[in-house]
Amino acid sequence: MTTVAPTRARGSEFTRSSRAEVLKLLSLPATLLTAAGSLLVSAVLAVAFATAGRQGSTGTASALDIGLAPIGYTQAGFIILGVLAATSEYTGGQVQTSLTVVPRRVLLHLSKVVALVLIAVPTALVVVLGGLVVADLVLGDAAVVPPFGDFAVGVGGAAAYLALTAVLSSSVATVIRRTIPAVAGLLVYYFIAGPLLRDRTAFAAYLPDTAGYGMWFHSGAGRFGSLSALVGTGFVVAWVVLAVAVAAVSFRARDA
C-alpha cells in the first residue's frame, strides 16, 4: 500500500485559501477597472480642487488638504470594489465551487477579508498619492508643502480609511448578495444620507463615514463631528469588525 503525499501543502489552510482569494480578485476585470477608475477620478478632482485652491476659494493652500480632498468622492471606488469582491461569488454560482474547495465557511469568509485588504491597501495608496501629486503639480509655487510627519499620517490615514470602507462594503454585500441593491444602498448612505445627517444630528459623529472623516481630512477633524482622529479611527475599526462578524455569521448560517 502506498501513501500519496499531499502535493500542495505549503502553508496552512488559511494561507492557501487567502492566496486563492487574492488570485480570484485579481482575475476579475472589474477589480482593475474599479482601481483605474478611482485613480482617474482622484486625479481629475485633484485638478478641480487645486484650481479652486489657487483662486483661494477653499480657504487653504495646503497641498496635503487639497490633494486628499478627492477622497470624499473616490471612496465610491472602494465601496464598489468591496461589493464586487463579495457579490461576484453569487453571479453564476461560483460560491458553490468555492465552498466545495474550502468547506469551512468562516475560514473562507476571513480569507476573503484578508485578500480584499491585501488588494485594497496598495490600490488606496496609489489613488491617494496620485491625487496628492496632481494637486501639487497644479498648485505649483502656491503649494504649501507639509512636514513629512503630517504627510505620512495623512496618506496612511486616508489609505486605511479607504481599505476599511472596502471591507465594510464587502460585509454588507455578503449579506445582501446582489450587486445593484448593495451598491445603491451603500452609495446612498455614504454620499447622501451620511453627509446630510452629519450636518444635522449629534449621533452621526459615531457613524462609520463621519467617524472616519478625521482619518483623512485633518483640518476638518473638529468641524465634522466631535471625535478626535484617533477615537474616530477606533469607531471605524469597531464598525468594520462588527460588520465582518455579522457577515461571517450570516454566511455560515444561510444556504449558499
Binding site: A52, I80, P181, A184, F191, P195, L197
Partner: protein, 253 residues
C-alpha cells in the same frame, strides 16, 4: 398598452424598485424634518428671522437618488445574468421575444418608468413638504403661492433624472457605473458644483440646470431661470435617450 402594463408589472416585481421607493420617500422626509427642527429652534431663539425659501425643496433635491436607482434598475435588470441554475439567461431575450418591436418595447419602458417616478416624486414631495410645514408652522415658505410651479418642478426634475439614468444604462448595460456617477453627483457638494468653480459652463450640466426648476438659492456663477434650466436639462435627457435608443435598436441584445 399591454407592453406598458407588462413593463409596469416588471417594475413592481423588482425588489430594487421597492428599495428605490423607500430611499426616494424616506431620505427627503427624514432629512427635511431634521432641517425643519433645527430651523424652528433657530427661529425660536432669534438667530434666524424665518425659514429659508428652499427648506424642504433642498432635501427633495437629494431624494432624487431614489429616481436614479429606479432609472438604472429599469434598464440594468434586463441585462442581469441569472445563475447557472436558471440557465444563465438574461431577461432581455424573453422581453424581446414577447415584444419584438424594439421601439415599442423602449417606449413602453419609458412610459412605465415615468409613471413610477411621477408616483414616487408626488408622494415624496407631499410627505416632505407637509412634514416641514407641520414642524416650522407659520414661518414656512413651503406651501406658499410659488409652490404651484415649484412642486411640478420637483416632479419633472425627478422624472428627467430617472430618464437620464435610464438612457445612460441603456448604453452601459451594467448598473454599477451609472449608479456610481449619478449618486456621487447627488451628494451634498456635487461634482458638477465643484466644476462650476473651475468653469462657469458647468451650470449647463443637467443637474445644476434642472435644480433651477424648484430651488431659488444655488450658488453658481451663472443664474438660469427655472424655464431655461428645465429646457437645458430636457435637452440633455433627449440627447442621451436618443443615444440609448439608437444603441439599443442597432446592437445585438
Amino acid at each position: 398598452m399591454s407592453a406598458y402594463s407588462g413593463e409596469l408589472r416588471k417594475l413592481t416585481s423588482l425588489p430594487s424598485v421597492w428599495a428605490a421607493f423607500a430611499i426616494g420617500i424616506a431620505v427627503p422626509a427624514v432629512v427635511g424634518v431634521l432641517s425643519a427642527v433645527s430651523t424652528s429652534s433657530a427661529i425660536a431663539n432669534g438667530s434666524k428671522p424665518e425659514a429659508g425659501p428652499d427648506l424642504g425643496y433642498q432635501e427633495l433635491a437629494f431624494g432624487v437618488a431614489g429616481a436614479i436607482v429606479l432609472g438604472v434598475v429599469a434598464a440594468s435588470s434586463e441585462y442581469f445574468t441569472e445563475g447557472e441554475s436558471a440557465g444563465s439567461g438574461r431577461q432581455i431575450t424573453t422581453s424581446l421575444t414577447a415584444v419584438p418591436s424594439r421601439t415599442r418595447f423602449l417606449l413602453a419602458k419609458v412610459a412605465a418608468l415615468t409613471t413610477a417616478v411621477v408616483l414616487m416624486s408626488a408622494i415624496a414631495t407631499g410627505i416632505t413638504l407637509s412634514c416641514v410645514q407641520a414642524v416650522v408652522g407659520d414661518h414656512a415658505h413651503a406651501l406658499d403661492g410659488a409652490a404651484a410651479t415649484r412642486v411640478p418642478g420637483v416632479v419633472l426634475y425627478w422624472v428627467l433624472t430617472a430618464l437620464l439614468a435610464f438612457g445612460i444604462t441603456l448604453l452601459t448595460r451594467n448598473g454599477v457605473v451609472p449608479l456610481a456617477v449619478l449618486v456621487l453627483n447627488t451628494s451634498v457638494v456635487t461634482v458638477t458644483f465643484l466644476l462650476s468653480k473651475v468653469t462657469p459652463l458647468a451650470v449647463y450640466f443637467p443637474d445644476l440646470a434642472g435644480m433651477r426648476m424648484f430651488l431659488t438659492e444655488v450658488r453658481v456663477p451663472v443664474e438660469l431661470s427655472p424655464l431655461t434650466g428645465g429646457v437645458v436639462m430636457a435637452v440633455w435627457v433627449v440627447l442621451l435617450l436618443a443615444c440609448g435608443f439608437t444603441a439599443f435598436t442597432r446592437r445585438d441584445a
